[in-house]
């Protein structure tokens, strides 16, 4: 099996007056694990279904391995889709499910059975071939779906939130398994998810999508560390957002005036003086103490949550909530933060503050951070 390159050229999809996917250009390299991350309704599933051929694009091209796919039926494309519902054939045995694609290609039954055994080995389901899908657990069904898709030796595997219905433990386990299968087979994976944790752990690169537009395409590190839009900054990982106005720009640093005072941060390219802007600071980049620093805020502790390895502190300053993460190792009692309503000074380095042009924030970005 060899992965193939996928190219979307100026692709857009419209349903009547509603544009599900705005004109999009995207190149996914052969053998890459590529994730498309976005909130529900952002058009990511539409994009996936367009690649698999179930939706005809209104404009533009889908190229797989340099070949234009627009007039090619789903069944003739070198892609295999794994559905969110898995869509296992409930009245067929596991081995028949796995080799349905081969059956459609006219492979003899004996040969198919042999292939099924091999594929079930690959996804660690040996010995389950005679069962029906309803007799399997969620994770096993998941792996049957993967085996079924791999059976037709696709160049591209399209996965539509396949882990969404699994519980947390299983989901984490399946992440590493999917990654391992992808490495073993070398197939190009396009993985759709609204879970940034999933996207960050598995992918080579991520596209973050909102309202039918891809806001950023980058490596996982860059998407997290160097978001280019407020949406990406707030959707991927958790961020404290400070709104303000740009006072001055000097080199790659800028000064922004907010309700908490004036702060210095890294400036993005598009900033202009006196324009509205947003400053993003990750909760783990904020320290307690540091009045001598340039960026500091006086806050009051309102609540603290223990989150396993670290503690979430919820602080209040000028009517806005600020979140900060402390690793469990730190001596919390020494820091005068054991009691609610205690006064604390917090600070952060200008290198850890990112200033972007004002824009839309992700509505659910904060809640998604830890799941």
């Amino acid at each position: 099996m060899h992965g193939q390159k996928i190219e979307l050229v100026n692709l857009s999809v419209k349903y009547g007056n509603f544009t599900a996917v705005q004109p999009t250009n995207l190149v996914v390299k052969a053998g890459e694990f590529f994730s498309i991350l976005g909130p529900s309704g952002c058009g990511k599933t539409t994009l996936l279904r367009t690649i698999s051929g179930f939706i005809k694009p209104s404009k533009g091209q889908v190229l797989i391995g340099e070949k234009d796919m627009v007039d090619i039926e789903p069944r003739n494309r070198p892609t295999a889709l794994i559905f969110q519902s898995l869509a296992l054939f409930s009245l067929m045995k596991v081995w028949e499910n796995v080799t349905f694609g081969l059956e459609a290609r006219g492979v003899a039954k004996k040969e198919r059975y042999k292939r099924a055994i091999d594929l079930l080995d690959l996804v660690a389901l040996s010995g389950e071939q005679e069962k029906y899908p309803s007799e399997l657990s969620g994770g096993q069904m998941q792996r049957v779906a993967v085996a079924r898709a791999l059976a037709v030796e696709p160049s591209v595997l399209l996965l539509d939130e396949p882990l969404a219905s699994l519980d947390l433990k299983l989901r984490q386990h399946m992440r590493s398994e999917l990654r391992a299968i992808q490495k073993k087979t070398g197939v190009t994976f396009i993985y759709i998810t609204h879970d940034q944790g999933e996207a960050l752990t598995m992918s080579d690169r991520i596209a973050v999508m909102n309202h039918g537009i891809i806001e950023q395409i980058d490596t996982t590190d860059n998407v997290y560390d160097k978001p280019t839009t407020p949406f990406v900054a707030s959707f991927v990982g958790q961020s404290n957002v400070f709104k303000g106005v740009i006072k001055s720009i000097a080199g790659d640093l800028a000064l922004i005036e907010t309700v908490h005072g004036t702060f210095q941060g890294k400036a993005s390219d598009k900033l202009t003086k006196a324009s509205n802007a947003m400053m993003f600071v990750r909760p783990e980049k904020i320290q307690i103490g540091g009045e001598q620093q340039q960026n500091f805020i006086k806050t009051t502790l309102t609540r603290r949550d223990l989150e396993g390895a670290y503690v979430n502190l919820f602080l209040e300053a000028n009517g806005e909530e600020i979140v900060l993460h402390l690793t469990k190792g730190a001596d919390l009692s020494a820091l005068n933060i054991m009691d609610d309503q205690s006064e604390n000074i917090i600070s952060f380095s200008p290198r850890d503050a990112l200033i972007l042009q004002e824009g839309e924030l992700a509505a659910t970005g904060k809640e998604l951070v830890n799941d």
Partner: protein
Amino acid sequence: MISIFKVYGRFITSVFLLCVAAWVLILIILPQIFMIDRSFKYDYRGDRLGIINNDLERLYANKLVKKYDLDFGPTCNEQGMVSVSMGLSITEGKKVGEAQRECEVLSSENTIKLEQEVVELNSQITILLQEEEVAKIAKEAEFPYSFRNYVMMSGLHIKTLTKTIFYSIFVAVLALILCYPVAYVVALKSAPRKAAILFLALIIPYAVNELMRIYAWLTIFDVKGLLNTILDFLGVLALDEDKVIVWYKYPGTVFTVLIYTYILFMVFPIYNTMSTLNRDQIEAAQDLGAKAWRIHWRIIIPHSKPGIAIGTIMTFMLAVGAFSVPYIITRGLQPKWFTHIIYDKFFESSNWNLGSAYSFTLLLISLIFVFVVMSLFRVSINELAKR
């Protein structure tokens, strides 16, 4: 059961259960038992009791006639003989007094004769009644049950039965072929809004009375009906020169109308099971390279099997038990349906026992058909009940 009591309370639940029990008992169990019981009792009209009954009936009828003549027979007046009931008088060529005298002589002779005859009839009746008592006791002493009703079906009736069953199977199969695509389009191929409209279009004709729908077909199949008129217009036939097709002669007309009448009983069950199929399964199969026929054969048909089985069974049962459609449509130009023979046995020859045996035979054959279809589709009764 206890949960029903909890939800609806003791009173309503008791009333409800009683109604159900009464319904099952009075409308299902008792008539069936009665029918089965009679079907095993052979009603032989040529034995002694049968002959006595026959004779008695004749004697009673005779006696009634004589009595009538005595009570309302001709009377005499000065004009001669007058029949009140017939309004006639016989006076021609006779003098007034003479006619009356003659008449009185005649009528008194006649009255005496009639009275003698009645006495004689009465004595015959008494003898026969005594004989009937004896014969009845003798017959009651015999074991009443036998299979004779079941083995005495004539060749013609067997032929009709076989034909009815084969025609009904044919109707069920045709209906299935016709309804599967319809159900598929409504259940899996249409957007919800369009499916609702299609559904409504399917149901609306059923708001019309069944007889009306059947009669509507007469306007199409009639000798000067729509079909022949169109063919005339196309120049195939010539209505004016009596160059016509008598459609009622062909079994196709019965098939057509039967299918039309019962099509919903096929569409609904198939639609119901089909619409529970996750459409993702179809797309998954497409994505894996399956062509349309394979998707139907491997995924949609296996999934809809219980619905197909129910639809086939219902359509077959309704077709086998159809009465009005073949009666109205054939206009006597095609052989009878078996239900007509059952009707004749019950109401024309008044032989309820034989009629019961005939209809029980039909019921048994229908049940066999149900089990054959179920094993053919490998569907269990549990599965059928679930749908």
